[in-house]
Amino acid sequence: MYKVKVYVTLRESVLDPQGNAVKQSLHSMSYKEVSDVRIGKYMELTIEKSEKDVEAQVKEMCSRLLANTVIEDFRYEIEECVAQ
């Protein structure tokens, strides 16, 4: 089986009001070095091994449901592991 980590973030061209608010808060805490904060989502999927190509499946899941590609980008990490 596979352990899949999916990261969804707003596209660079899209303003991130949450990230901006957090950046300002960090600045007010005197972390002036922080030049950008982007807030996103992190998801963990466990996928059983099948005859289907796991990467193609994950990609499809991301673009159909897990991310809205109008405003979001996604990336993923797939790790094969032994079921316990």
Partner: protein, 228 residues
Amino acid sequence: MKFAVIVFPGSNCDIDMYHAIKDELGEEVEYVWHDADSLEGFDGILLPGGFSYGDYLRSGAIARFSNVMKEIKKAAEAGKPILGVCNGFQILLESGLLPGAMRRNESLQFICRPVQLKVEAPHTMFTSAYEVGETITIPVAHGEGNYYCDEQTLAELKENNRIVFTYAGSNPNGSIADIAGIMNEKGNVLGMMPHPERAVDSMLGSSDGLKLFKSIVHHWRESNVINA
């Protein structure tokens, strides 16, 4: 004219919508559960506001895969009037029936108050009862109403008069080009963040929303009833 109010788990403006149609507009209306297989017999479809599926993942993202959405797509292709308000608008965006996407409000606050809207496209099946350039008062209630689309889509919306309502005066959520409501290319699917169903009686502060529903009925009568 017979309307369907689609009810998702987490819808919370369905009763307001039902009331607006039945008691204020005086037309037929029924609730339709999200797993329905058919929308036969309905002349207009209303997607109400609320928090379908708890807004999990993204507003409207899960509702979009409900069984009834296949029927809503068919109805859209058949040219039936479809109105999505607030969460209903978000579902129409997620399903691809309308272009673009919603972001969190620029202020990050949930905004719940009456706003001024400008009727940008008065010659549609949803707005024919309004005057050209009329300013109306309709309440908004949302945390994610900050409409976004790419430049090409925006140009296309402008060129084809598909921006139906804009916020007049101040923009409450930061939406691109002050957009409050847009429609599809065919002109039969409208999505809007403000709640016309909450502005159907002057006792509630405004009755400006009623004209929207009256426009839909007027259009339907003209095209479906002999000697209308």
